[in-house]
């Protein structure tokens, strides 16, 4: 059987043909939210005007309060939402992906519409709302930075909650004894690091499932702090559990910028440390030798090993560092706010931080924004409770969790974490 072959050079063959895989998730979600807004307007119309107060009485530069009629504004928003939905349908129908900016615009629009509706007949203190959001987000941001670092190096950190709690407890005790909040700060970092040591030792040395160690560690820290609280702190509250608080340190000039100033630059040391931490983690992770090695270990530990990087040592110390950062976040609950330690006082913040890590796709900046979003949702509930909201506060409190479920269910696209996260590195 004679078989000759055409002599065409192989390199001329183009790459694989491709087609676009489309997803209808975004248009469906858009339609659902538009419908919710429509239902609010039709079945629960609210009369009156809504005010948005943009500056505080003590500010140097005063901005007038914006007032807008509630229902007309809501209707305008609904029309815009419907347009955005239609556009997303068009995009998907023409085999393209819904861009991120459209999702962001949609979310902001919906929030404006919702706020106008919810606060009809009252005025929303925008600065206070944002300031509170940032404050509530502080432990979440530290926690999510901890999660980002830990998971980027390949160790799933479910123990953020425990690290925060350990930080809060230690900060309160050490600051009470020394009278120095700064001493509490360092003690909290050490405490968070100790929790991480256990996580690292069990998951790296003994190959115990990282999720299990994390869950159990949360229980352990809860048990330990509660035990010592009841047994030691309560009888000696004056000496051991009356932590001093960090003072607010307004930054000259910057703190007088309208809206941004009071929100960002009239904060405590803990918040300023947070700004620094976010920047350092971001730069460190993506532009330094340390970050390159850390990510290599989390993505492909064997490859890292073959170029001489000590995988388990890298994991161990970076998980420890992550614990220290989370411990720092724990200080917010006690010395950051001047509150005595109490049992279970972190109340699930660690789990929200974990959600922020995933929502932020393991990127320190995105995770920070996710944490801010969650802080905003929590504080929105506080604000609405003060001005008398038509929505039960529980539903507002539920919001971050529901949003996270939507997020992991793929609304924001397939979330891909570090390839080797959760897998112990076992040689030979």
């Amino acid at each position: 059987m004679s078989t000759t072959v055409q002599q065409t050079p192989a390199s001329d063959v183009p790459a694989l043909a491709t087609t676009v895989v489309t997803s209808w998730k975004a248009p469906i979600a858009f339609a659902a939210f538009t419908l919710i807004a429509l239902l609010l307007a039709v079945f629960a119309p609210r009369e009156g005007e809504t005010g948005f107060r943009l500056s505080e009485a003590k500010d140097v530069i005063q901005i007038t309060t914006i007032t807008t009629p509630a229902m007309p504004t809501l209707w305008v928003v609904i029309v815009l939402l419907a347009l955005a939905t239609a556009y997303s349908v068009f995009i998907v129908a023409s085999k393209r992906r819904v861009p991120l900016w459209l999702i962001v615009v949609f979310a902001v629009l919906f929030m404006v519409g919702f706020l106008t509706w919810a606060a009809a007949g009252a005025t929303i203190p925008v600065v206070g709302l944002l300031f509170g959001s940032l404050s509530l987000a502080v432990p979440l941001i530290f926690g999510s930075l901890s999660g980002v670092l830990s998971e980027r190096v390949g160790v799933i950190n479910i123990a953020i909650e425990g690290q925060l709690l350990a930080g809060a407890f230690t900060a309160a005790v050490v600051a009470s004894i020394t009278g120095q909040p700064i001493a509490g700060l360092f003690a909290a970092m050490v405490a968070g690091m100790l929790v991480s040591f256990v996580l690292a030792a069990f998951s790296i040395k003994y190959f115990v499932d990282q999720v299990i160690v994390g869950v159990v560690l949360n229980v352990l820290v809860l048990g330990l702090t509660s035990f010592f609280y009841s047994q030691v702190l309560v009888p000696n509250a004056a000496q051991l559990n009356t932590p001093p608080r960090f003072d607010r340190l307004p930054i000259p000039v910057l703190s007088e910028i309208p809206i941004i100033g009071p929100v960002l630059f009239r904060q405590t040391l803990v918040v300023y440390l947070m700004y620094v931490a976010v920047a350092l983690v971001y730069i460190g992770l993506f532009h330094t030798k340390w970050g390159l090695r850390l990510r290599a270990v989390g993505e492909h530990p064997q490859a890292a090993d073959t170029v001489g990087i000590k995988v388990n040592r890298t994991r161990f110390w970076n998980v420890a560092l992550a614990g220290a950062i989370a411990g720092l976040g724990g200080t917010f609950f006690t010395i950051g706010s001047g509150i005595a330690f109490n049992k279970e006082m972190t109340a699930g913040a660690g789990f929200i931080a974990l959600a922020a890590v995933i929502f932020g796709q393991w990127d320190p900046i995105k995770a920070t924004f996710a944490a801010l979003l969650f802080g905003f949702a929590s504080n929105l509930q506080n604000t609405l409770a003060v001005i008398g909201s038509p929505v039960p506060s529980e539903f507002m409190l539920m919001l971050p969790y529901v949003v996270t479920i939507f997020a992991v269910a793929g609304l924001v696209g397939k979330v891909r974490g570090p390839a080797a996260a959760g897998k112990p590195y076992i040689k030979s």
Binding site: M1, S2, T3, T4, V5, Q6, Q7, T8, A10, V13, L16, A17, T18, T19, V20, V21, I283, H287, T288, K289, W290, L292, R293, R295, A296, E299, H300, Q302, A303, A304, D305, T306, V307, G308, I309, K310, A419, K427, S428
Partner: protein, 505 residues
């Protein structure tokens, strides 16, 4: 640099992977390490590279004893390695991968990417590689990824370079180019250890050959030795490379695939408009370099690919949109490419694995209850019929050798009433004795009138089994040719070159 291994012994539990191995590689020499899968070649090189610690023996470079606590030490001493499974981080750029582990930094620990890029360009130019330092490794074809691995080693001034099965993922043309690169490296004074089990490559490029079998050096040979001599050294006996099989007794067309296209999650057409027919009593072998759509094709036949278009019919029944359950029930037997990943549950016993794809209804389940007595009876029969070497039917499959594991898969699939058998890489990682047994059973299945599709990247296996050969390249069929088509022609087809005639075999 001269490399010498003296009396290297490495044990894993009771298994001796390397048994007092001696090996000397002179400076500027290409030294081939030849051996079957599992002979202990990779273990030896991992010892050399500091990934494993030898239980006995020593490594010498230029007659000085070395102590490698890890790969870092080995690299510092001038040893580089191009791994079989590339040790590249897919989400990093070429420059980042090359600098990893010996990063140059600017003030404040900031990475100096510019110098890494320059280094990549410099080495790339020196050998004519044409590699973009800023490309993401994930986006590069495997041939280029391998060059990145070589650049990585050279950027650390490696003077002994180990290539671990480098040609497994390459087309014959890319393989030739790699041979050229090796010669070029040798010219520049680098010593090369070339690990392979492919005889042709050895004879083409080697200066000296050491053959390893069962963890021991069984002999040295010169490149002038014949294939048969090398092969017999390698497997410890004269190898009969072909299976005895009679002329096919062809029946009517049974499997008819028309216009089949498979789309992967990122939208690539990994199988692109494929049409073919397999008749009863015929073996169609699907040949091609790994990763040209064969895996996805077999998965599509089993209903495991979610996004497919086109038609798959068995005996006239359309199955392109059926679930794996329905397809299995329609009489399709499947030997998956990666048995540990897709074919067996390692923690299950042999018995449990034998009922894995019949977990609903007769004969093993009645009214939701597992019929344990019937199942055990069945398991005992199959273990004996298929010569599965084990402590008993309650042994975990994880504890079996590769060949015995594959026999369990085969026993399970062949004990159903089949209307089609799909076997992907049926003898990968299987010892020679089992290979023969498995090939025999596949041919017997054909002779009983069942159409068979065998996917293999090994031309030897294709040649041994095929009645017709279908070559795939980049998701498309290059051609379907008779089973006795010469290797050279198949090789060119595997590189995507369409035969001008004789395709309608």
């Amino acid at each position: 640099m001269k490399l010498e291994l003296r009396g290297i012994t490495k044990r894993f539990g009771s298994l001796v992977a390397n048994d007092h191995i001696d090996l000397t590689v002179e400076a500027g020499e290409i030294h081939c390490l030849l051996g079957e899968n599992g002979a202990g070649k990779s273990t030896l090189m991992n010892v050399l590279y500091g990934l494993y610690q030898a239980d006995e023996g020593e490594v010498l470079l230029d007659d000085e004893v070395q102590h490698f606590a890890g790969p870092g030490d080995a690299m510092a001493a001038g040893i580089g390695m191009v791994h079989q499974h590339f040790m590249l981080i897919p989400v990093f750029t070429v420059a980042e991968n090359v600098m990893l582990g010996h990063e140059s930094t600017k003030a404040g620990g900031i990475l100096d990417l510019a110098s890494a890029r320059a280094k990549v360009r410099e080495i790339s130019d020196r050998f004519g590689f044409d590699v973009d330092p800023d490309a993401l490794v994930d986006d590069l074809p495997v041939g280029v990824q391998q060059r990145v691995e070589i650049i990585k080693a050279l950027s650390r001034d490696a003077r002994v370079l180990v290539f671990d099965e480098p040609t497994a993922v390459l087309t014959p043309q890319e393989t030739d180019e790699l041979m050229g690169i090796m010669r070029q490296l040798k010219e520049s004074g680098t010593s090369i250890v070339f690990i392979t089990h492919k005889l042709r490559e050895v004879r083409e490029v080697a200066d000296r050959i050491t053959v390893i079998r069962l963890g021991k050096v069984v002999g040295e040979a010169s490149p002038t030795a014949s294939n048969a001599e090398l092969a017999s050294l390698m497997v410890g006996r004269a190898v009969e490379l072909t299976v005895h099989k009679d002329e096919p007794n062809l029946g009517e067309a049974a499997l008819v695939v028309e216009g089949l296209t498979v789309i992967d999650p990122i939208g690539q057409l990994v199988v692109n408009d494929v049409s073919f027919t397999v008749r009863r009593g015929e073996i169609l072998a699907v040949a091609g370099v790994q990763g040209n759509g064969q895996t996805e094709l077999t998965e599509a036949l089993l209903g495991l690919q979610p996004r497919i278009t086109g038609s798959i019919a068995i005996d006239g029944i359309e199955l392109s949109s059926a679930s794996p359950r329905r397809i299995l029930d329609a009489g399709v037997g499947f030997v998956p490419e990666d048995r540990n990943e897709d074919g067996l549950v390692g923690e299950f016993t042999i018995t449990e694995n034998l009922m894995l794809d019949r977990s609903n209804g007769a004969p093993f389940v009645r009214a939701g209850n597992i019929q344990r007595a019937a199942l055990e009876q069945f398991a005992r029969e199959k273990v004996s019929e298929f010569d599965v070497r084990t402590q008993g039917i309650d042994s975990k499959v994880r504890q079996l050798s590769g060949g015995n594991q594959q026999k369990v898969v085969l026993a399970r699939e062949l004990s159903r009433d089949l209307r089609l058998l799909v076997a992907a890489q049926p003898t990968r990682g299987v010892d020679v004795g089992s290979i023969e047994f498995i090939h025999k059973r596949i041919v017997e299945t054909r002779d009983s009138g069942v159409p068979v599709v065998v996917v293999s990247t090994e031309l030897d296996e294709v040649a041994a089994l095929a009645d017709r050969i279908m070559v795939m390249y980049r998701g498309r069929i290059v051609g379907i040719v008779p089973g006795d088509t010469p290797r050279e022609v198949l090789g060119l087809m595997m590189a995507g070159e369409v035969p001008t005639e004789g395709a309608a075999a």
